[in-house]
Every structure is written in C-alpha cells, then in structure tokens.
C-alpha cells in the first residue's frame, strides 16, 4: 500500500509537471507571441505582415492542437508506466 501511494504521488507530480510545461507553451504562443510580444516580433515578416499576426490568427491554434495530442500521448504512456491505466 505504501508503495502504491508513493507511486500514485509520483504519477500525479509527473502529470502536474507536464501540465505546467504545456500551459507555459500555451500562454507563450497566444498571450506572448500573439499579443504582448508582437512589437518584438515585428521585424520578422510573414506574408505582408509580421510573425505576431500569424501567431494570433493561425500559429496559436496549430500549437494548441499539437499540445493536446502531445499531452494525450504522454499521459496515456504515463498511465501505463505507473500502472494506473484502465484495463
């Protein structure tokens, strides 16, 4: 039982770590590149405008999709590693 609890805690910590990393990227591409950091990206031209505009209208959405699939893939693997997956 003690072993099981320790294992469970490690699993939850791994999940939280993964969430924090993913949400940091989530915030960086939308609030960062798409909004707040746009003036700093103004020098990088993309099709008649700049990289910040691209992130606001396309880049952030594409990153969101990649993040969710990455998270689902990692978590489903962690479930098995820690033996908490559904049989």
């Amino acid at each position: 039982m003690a072993d099981h609890t320790k294992n469970a805690q490690a699993y939850w910590r791994a999940n939280l770590r993964l969430i924090i990393i993913s949400l940091a990227i989530w915030a960086l591409v939308s609030y960062g590149f798409g909004i707040l950091l746009r003036p700093w990206l103004a020098g990088i031209p993309v099709g008649g405008t700049d990289l910040g505009f691209w992130f606001a209208q396309q880049g952030s959405i594409l990153t969101f999709i990649a993040l969710i699939f990455f998270y689902a893939w990692r978590m489903n693997k962690l479930d098995k590693e820690f033996g908490v997956d559904e049989e």
Binding site: G34, G48, A56, Q57, I68, V84, D85
Partner: protein, 593 residues
C-alpha cells in the same frame, strides 16, 4: 431551377437526414439519454463536440467580426480554441473518470453539499438559456433569408426538428445528428472560401492564401488590404492594439469560458475511457480548427472583395454608381442588413471611416459622410454571391448556417434538461424517482426547454447579443474555477466553493450590468460603456465588461481558497474522491448513482 428551390432541396435534404438519424438513434435508458450510453468513439465525439461548440456565432458572425476589427479581433480565434487545451489537461479526463452524468453532479458530490449543486444548476441554466436564445434567433434569420418564410415560422420548423431528435434520442440522437451537422457545416464553410482564395491569390487553401500574394496587384494580400483601408481612413487591418491588458483578459475570458461551458464538458462524458477523453479533446480542436483557420482568410478576403466592389478602380478613384450595384447588394438591402443613403447626392456609394482625422480628405473628395452600412453578419452568408459562385453554393451555406445553429441549440438544451431532471428532480427534490420516471422527466424538461427557447427566440429580449457575453462570463467566473479546484485541490471545502462561485458570479454580473444596463434593461446602465469609463480606464488600460470573466474567475479562486483556509478541511471520503478522479484506473463507464 430557382434559387429558392435549390435552397429548399439543400435545407430539406439535411433535415430529412437529421430525422432519419433521430429515428435510428432512440434512447431507451437514462444513460443513453444523458451520455449516449458512454460508448462514443473519441474521433466521432470530437466531431460532435466541434458541431456542439461551433454555433451561429462561429459560423455566421465570427468572420464578419474579424473583417471589421482586423488583428484586434484575433481574440476570438485564440479565445475560442485555447479553451480546449484547458479542457484536455485540467477538466475532461478527470470528470470522465468521476463518471457521472452532469456538471452539477460533480460539484454537488465533490463539495458534499446540495447548496453547491444548486448554485451550479443555477449558473448552468442562466449560461445555457442566454446562449440558446442566440441560436434560435440565428436559425430564424437563416430561414427567413433563404426559405422566404417568416422568421417566426422558420423558428417553429427549427424547433420541431430539434424536438424530434433531442426528445427521442437525448444525447444519443444529438451525438449522431451533430456528426452529420458538422459535415454539412464544414463543407458549407470551406467551399466558398476555397473559391474566393483561388480567385484572389491562386492558392486553393484559404489559410495559406491569407499569407500569399494578391494576384491582381502582385502585393501580399494583407499588405494590399492594409493599403486599401488606409486610403479610406480606416485603421490598418493588421495594426497592433494599444490596450493589451484588455486584449489579454478578453482572450483569457473566452478561453476559460469555453472550458467552463457545461454543454461542451458533458460531451466528454460520452467516450468509453479516460484516455479517450484526452484524445477526443484533440480531435475536437482539429475539427474546430478546420473552420477557425479558414475564418480569418474569409474575413480579410471578403473585406478586400467588398472594397473592390465599391471602388472598382481603387480607393483613390470614384466609387461605384448606386444604379450599377451588384445583385447581391440588392438582395441583402431588402433584409435591411445593408443600408445605403446618398448623403452627397452624387449617385455613388462612398464607404469610408467617418472620423475627424479623415474629415479633410473627405471634404476634398466631395464626400458628405459614410453612405453604406453593412451588418457584419452578412459577410459569410453573402460570400458566395459576392464571389459570383453558383446557386448550389448558396443553398449549401443556408444548410450549413442552420446546422451550426441547431447543433449548438440541441447540445445546450440537453445540458439544461439534464440539469433539471437529474440534478434538480433526482438530485434534490425526489431522490427515489425510478429510472423510467427520470427518463420521462428528462424528456419532459427537454420539451419544456425547447418551448421556452422558441418563445425567447420569437420575442428576443433586445439585449440578445449582450447576453452571450454573460454566458461566457458566468462559465468563466463560476463553473470553471469550481471544477478546477474540485480536481486540483483537496483543501477547498463546501463553504469555500460556494462562497467562491457566488463571489465570481456576482462580481462578473455586477460589472457587466454597470456598463450594459441592470439585467440588460436599456437605459439603466450606471456608467456609459466607453473605454475611459472602464475600471482602470483613465490609464488607457481599461477592462471591458466582456473581459471581466477572467477577473471574476480570479476573485472566485481567491475567495474559495481564503474561506477554505479559515474553515474545516473536507472529510476524508471527499479527499479520497479527489484522489480517485486523478487516476484513470477503474473508470469503467459513466454510471448512475
């Protein structure tokens, strides 16, 4: 064949399909009615979620909003997609593991309190009812424009269709019709976009066309658009925004509001496993992105097309003669959504930004005010006509707009009726109700909800547009934080959760009412809704009432943690419940109490 006949074939054909699905997917148990039996394939659920989520607002209004606002309205693109990241990581898998039927179910059990369950029911009903009004009026408009019936008649037809598949099939019927509706709406949205992208840029993929060269001028499309609108006194399409605080908060409000909307969350209760809930959120966003990556292209291309129609020889030359205006303008003029007044009596249609900064140029050119008012909502609907596409594309758009409105309406109605039959009747008033009795109660509350929604659609409160802000505000400030704390904290207790939800709910409603009128009654606003009046407005970083949901959520978190810290921690069995939702093992299928 007349355009009317073509529209009738497309709309009638899609409706026949929905009814056939309804007959095939009847629900026999409460589990089928609430969560489609819990065996929906994750990809298919992703598709149904996309239709459930993309409403008349996404299909009809969003491209128009972006066309009018340019870069500043990218908030809708990021806000209405970013919420799925939160859903996938912070809510969906754990709520699926919890394995009950509704959102108030979780809040009531986790915070071991009927009070918390009832607050959640109230938030859910206010958010969903305000949201459904917009869908019903949207369906009414689409009917009256394309099928030449009165919008009331259109609404009744729409209500009967929804009644058939939602009351018979519950979540099971809704799931499979939503899959069909997704297919209809995405085809309807992308086909005109592909043609327009080809015409303007030679690129058949609209999201790439947006960043390509404008064939006619040889300039990048967005640079060309910037140049054209600048000549007419408008702000550059790609211009940056000064009040970034408000832009961030508005985007955040839309994101956490999306993640907190009950009709979206309950879709994840229908998949077989926790792992499927994670995949399904990804698939939902893929299907949503097909429309959301196309929308900004439609927005900029339609705006450029419109300007080219009005100024055929460029914005510095003469505008088009009113007598020579294209047919689509005439059709839409009859709906009142395009209005022309010849202010300088020269018989031409001058469109420009009527501001003091541009006044000198306007006078020089003999202009006496902007002469054409175009409602944002017609952009997508009129798109095929503006681009001279064949009649069947127009029929397709009609069917697509209706699919978007009906699929969202059905999802909302299910969330409302299950909150009533499952949480209010079974959960609090009559816990010993039989399975059969509860199924009947669910069907009756669905029927009543449809009647109420139809009535509200026919007699829309004048504030229908603003209430959508309220729906997002409530979901963001009350439901999302309560769910998240219920999963990620073992310390937040019943008193803390209720205090937090009420604080978030009340602060957000009050802030919205201060600027938009108390309970949206016209003329009762305490302050004028202008940026300098908003909170922190004097600094140039004012917070708009529409952006307040994110602030309300922070208030909710702060109050809940403070109150919980000052009161007793939750009992051990609740801490074990929290433990159990965190681990997928033993999820099984969604079960009844």
């Amino acid at each position: 064949m007349s355009q009317f006949a073509i529209n009738l074939i497309f709309v009638g054909g899609s409706f026949a399909l929905y009814i056939a699905i309804a007959i095939w997917a009847r629900a026999g148990t409460t589990k089928e009615f609430y969560v489609a039996g819990g065996g929906v394939n994750p990809v298919m659920n992703g598709m149904a979620t996309a239709a459930d989520w993309m409403s008349a607002a996404s299909f009809i209004s969003m491209a128009g909003l972006i066309a009018a606002g340019g870069y500043a309205n990218s908030t809708f693109l990021m806000g209405w997609t970013g919420g799925y990241v939160l859903l996938a990581m912070l809510l969906a898998p754990y709520l699926r593991k919890f394995g009950k039927f509704t959102v108030p179910d979780f809040i009531g059990d986790r915070f071991y309190s009927t009070g918390a369950r009832l607050v959640a029911v109230a938030c859910l009903i206010i958010a969903s009812v305000t949201y459904v009004i917009g869908q019903m009026t949207g369906a009414g408009v689409a009917f009256s424009r394309f099928l030449e019936v009165s919008s009331d008649m259109g609404l009744i037809i729409a209500a009967v269709i929804v009644f058939l598949y939602a009351v018979m099939g519950g979540m099971k019927g809704i799931t499979y019709t939503q899959v069909a509706q997704y297919v209809v709406l995405i085809i309807a949205y992308t086909i005109p976009a592909v043609f327009i992208s080809l015409q303007l840029t030679g690129n058949f993929l609209p999201p790439l066309g947006l960043f390509s060269e404008h064939t006619e001028s040889g300039m990048p499309l967005l640079a060309k658009l910037d140049e054209v609108v600048r000549e007419l006194g408008f702000q550059d399409y790609t211009a940056d925004v000064d009040n970034k605080l408000n832009m961030v908060l508005f985007t955040l409000s839309l994101m956490i509001g999306t993640a907190g909307l009950p009709h979206v969350i309950i879709r994840f209760f229908t998949v077989p496993k926790v792992a499927d809930a994670r995949w399904s959120a990804g698939w939902a966003l893929v299907f949503i992105a097909l429309l959301y990556l196309t929308a900004p292209a439609v927005a900029s291309m339609a705006r450029l097309n419109l300007m080219n129609t009005i100024y055929p020889a460029g914005p510095t030359a003469d505008a088009i003669q009113y007598a020579e205006r294209p047919d689509w303008m005439k059709t839409w003029e009859t709906t009142g959504l395009i209005q022309f007044t010849d202010k300088n009596n020269d018989g031409r249609i001058q469109v420009y930004n009527d501001t003091p900064a541009f006044a000198a140029t306007a006078t020089e050119r003999g202009w006496n005010g902007n002469e054409l008012v175009v409602n944002n909502d017609i952009l997508v609907l009129a798109n095929p006509e503006i681009a001279n596409l064949p009649g069947w594309v127009i029929g397709l758009i009609a069917a697509g707009g209706l699919a978007a409105a009906l699929s969202t309406a059905a999802g909302l109605l299910l969330a409302i009726s299950s909150a009533i039959s499952h949480d209010l009747i079974k959960g609090s008033l009559k816990p010993d109700i039989s399975e059969k009795g509860e199924l009947m109660a669910a069907r009756i509350s669905m029927g009543v909800a449809i009647v109420v929604a139809t009535w509200l659609g026919m007699n829309p409160p004048g504030f229908a547009a603003q209430t959508v802000a309220l729906a997002f505000g409530i979901a963001a400030a009350s439901i999302f934080p309560a769910l998240m704390m219920g999963i990620f904290s073992k310390r937040v207790n019943n008193v803390g959760a209720i205090a937090g939800m009420l604080a978030g709910l009340i602060s957000t409603c009050v802030y919205i009412f201060l600027y938009l009128g108390w309970f949206f009654i016209p003329g009762t606003a305490t302050f004028a809704n202008t940026p300098d009046n908003w909170l922190f407005g004097s600094t140039g970083y004012g917070i708009s009432p529409l952006s307040f949901g994110a602030v309300g959520a922070m208030i909710n978190f702060a109050v809940a943690f403070t109150v919980s810290a000052l009161t007793a921690p939750p009992p051990v069995r609740i801490q074990e419940l929290v433990e159990s939702v965190r681990f997928p093992r033993g999820a099984g299928q969604a079960v009844d109490h």
